[in-house]
């Protein structure tokens, strides 16, 4: 499974990015992340989760998961992120590098 993650915005306006190839991770870590993708029901999350209006200094996320034949991209405003997707975003944020 391959995951591309980006976070934009926030007060500081800095970009965060991560590219995760689970096959290259230690087995426990790979399992943890794949479980978060499953728990988020990621491939059924709507591709655009927009807040009714963009909110000042909040984050925006863009996540693409490729798993075999399946590929899905989700763009989400922080205020519109479903509870089930939050743990995955939090995990990816901590794996990301800035710039």
């Amino acid at each position: 499974m391959r995951i591309e993650f980006e976070r934009f915005g926030g007060f500081a306006g800095m970009r965060l990015r991560a590219t995760v190839q689970t096959e290259t991770l230690p087995a426990a870590q790979a399992q943890e992340i794949e479980a978060l993708v499953v728990a988020a029901d990621f491939f059924d999350v709507p591709p655009n989760l927009s807040a009714p209006q963009p909110a000042a200094d909040r984050f925006q996320y863009e996540v693409t998961v490729t798993d075999g034949e399946r590929c899905h991209t989700v763009r989400a405003d922080e205020t519109a992120v479903p509870v089930t997707l939050q743990p995955l975003l939090r995990r990816l944020t901590r794996m990301a590098t800035r710039n």
Binding site: E6, F8, G9, G10, F11, A12, G13, M14, R15, N48, S50, A51, P52, Q53, P54, A55, A56, D57, R58, F59, Q60, R75, T79, R90, T93, R94, T97, R98, N99
Partner: protein
């Protein structure tokens, strides 16, 4: 102003392939564009029920939501008789509550310090309390504004929001602060708590003022102006608290937010945009200081935290030219522009024209103040005589586009921002 006028003004004819200037850009996706803002999810009649019959906390929340509801703007008299409203309207002086979100996401959290209560010893709590007070003081003492809504609104802040939350924001009703990288080992931390810098606190509160006044749309040039207004008054609150003149101030936004591991003095520099940080991990401050370096990007709502460097620097130059305390003259011109003249989709050229015109009205045509405003905008490559470009996009007002804008936003446009 009537917002429908703003919508029409900024909707322009455009080259093929470009969206109407007033439309929400494609990078924010249009699926939810015409929806009402979040406060409308609970209808006003239900809020009134809650305001009358709910628990004290529910009543307070419902009242706040009613008060910020765009549909009820200008109709506050319709709310008279609701419990709690009289005390709110009659509130004298600062009213502050600080809550502890206890590392969760539920707002506001547990009340830990109310107005006139003693310091708690929790740095974030006490900084949020003192910082919102200093912000209230600038607006009140210098610009005669009674809180965010100019109607004595209580200033609510929640600290310790979530874990490892590198951010602060105004959510439309209150301020919210994360603790930075508190969840990481100390050797890996880049961000301190977000209450550490007074200008961050004032920046967030000013998003609230903008929400009640110009309602600047949070994308492209109007979004960058929105961000810049927050940086301007953020910096002015700090300068006034420190007793610094324009020449003495560092004009840094977010000084102290970085840990010593970061090579940087803060998040943004109004004096020298693009120089605040240059770090192996964080990269380099991307802010331009001149229109020739304006960055068209498809993230951050069109680079609102990037291109704010341009109007930020214009304000700095005005203050530098005038000398003395920046909040007295330059700040007054910007404040009156925010309160009376800027509109939801004002762009940089509109801000230049408006502040130049206001400087003439407030200080006299051809005055040193008006000359300074011209110099400020000229230094960043913007004419004070330019016409609107419709939120930063070339075009002129055309009837079809104006009609489209009216159709899309029958109430006069999407909220400028909910903070």
């Amino acid at each position: 102003m009537t917002v429908s006028t703003a919508g029409m003004r900024s909707a322009g004819m455009r080259p093929a392939g470009m969206r109407p200037a007033g439309m929400r850009p494609a990078y924010m996706r249009s699926a939810c564009m015409p929806q009402h803002h979040v406060h409308c999810f609970i209808p006003p009649h239900m809020l009134k029920e809650i305001a009358e019959r709910g628990s004290p906390a529910q009543r307070d929340r419902a009242l706040k939501t009613l008060l910020v509801s765009e549909q009820l703007r200008g109709q506050r008299e319709a709310l008279t008789g609701l419990p709690g409203l009289a005390t709110r309207a009659l509130a004298v002086g600062k009213q502050r509550n600080v809550y502890d979100a206890e590392n969760g996401s539920t707002l506001p959290g547990r009340l830990v310090r109310a107005e006139d209560a003693a310091a708690t010893g929790d740095l974030a709590v006490d900084e949020a309390y003192d910082g919102s007070g200093a912000t209230y003081d600038l607006y009140h003492d210098v610009y005669e504004r009674n809180s965010i809504d100019n109607a004595g609104m209580r200033l609510d802040s929640s600290v310790h929001y979530q874990q490892g939350y590198d951010n602060a924001f105004w959510d439309g009703q209150q301020m919210v602060y994360g603790d930075g990288d508190e969840d990481l080992p100390e050797t890996e931390r880049l961000f301190n708590r977000f209450t550490i810098a007074l200008d961050i606190i004032a920046h967030e509160l000013t998003h609230g003022v903008t929400q009640y006044e110009a309602k600047l749309a949070y994308w492209d040039q109007s979004g960058a102006l929105n961000e810049s207004i927050s940086d301007v008054f953020g910096s002015l609150v700090r300068q006034r608290a420190l007793g610094q003149t324009a020449a003495e101030a560092d004009w840094i936004i977010g000084a102290g937010l970085f840990t010593p591991r970061v090579n940087g003095v803060g998040i943004r520099s109004m004096k020298a945009p693009g120089t605040a940080y240059d770090d192996p991990v964080l990269g380099k401050d991307p802010q331009p200081a001149h229109m020739r370096d304006y960055k068209q990007v498809d993230y951050d709502n069109g680079g609102v935290h990037i291109n704010s460097g341009i109007p930020n620097h214009a304000f700095y130059v005005v203050a530098r030219e005038l000398g003395g305390n920046a909040w007295e003259k330059a700040g007054r011109i910007w404040y009156v522009a925010l309160r009376d003249r800027l509109e939801a989709r004002s762009d940089f050229a509109a801000a230049a024209r408006i502040t130049h015109s206001l400087a003439g009205e407030l200080f006299g045509a051809g005055s040193l103040e008006q000359q300074a405003v011209r110099t400020g905008w000229t230094e960043v490559g913007i004419s004070v005589e330019g016409g609107d470009t419709g939120n930063g996009k070339a075009g002129c007002l055309g009837a079809p586009a104006a009609a489209l804008a009216t159709l899309l936003w029958p109430l006069g446009g999407p909220r400028g921002q909910v903070g």
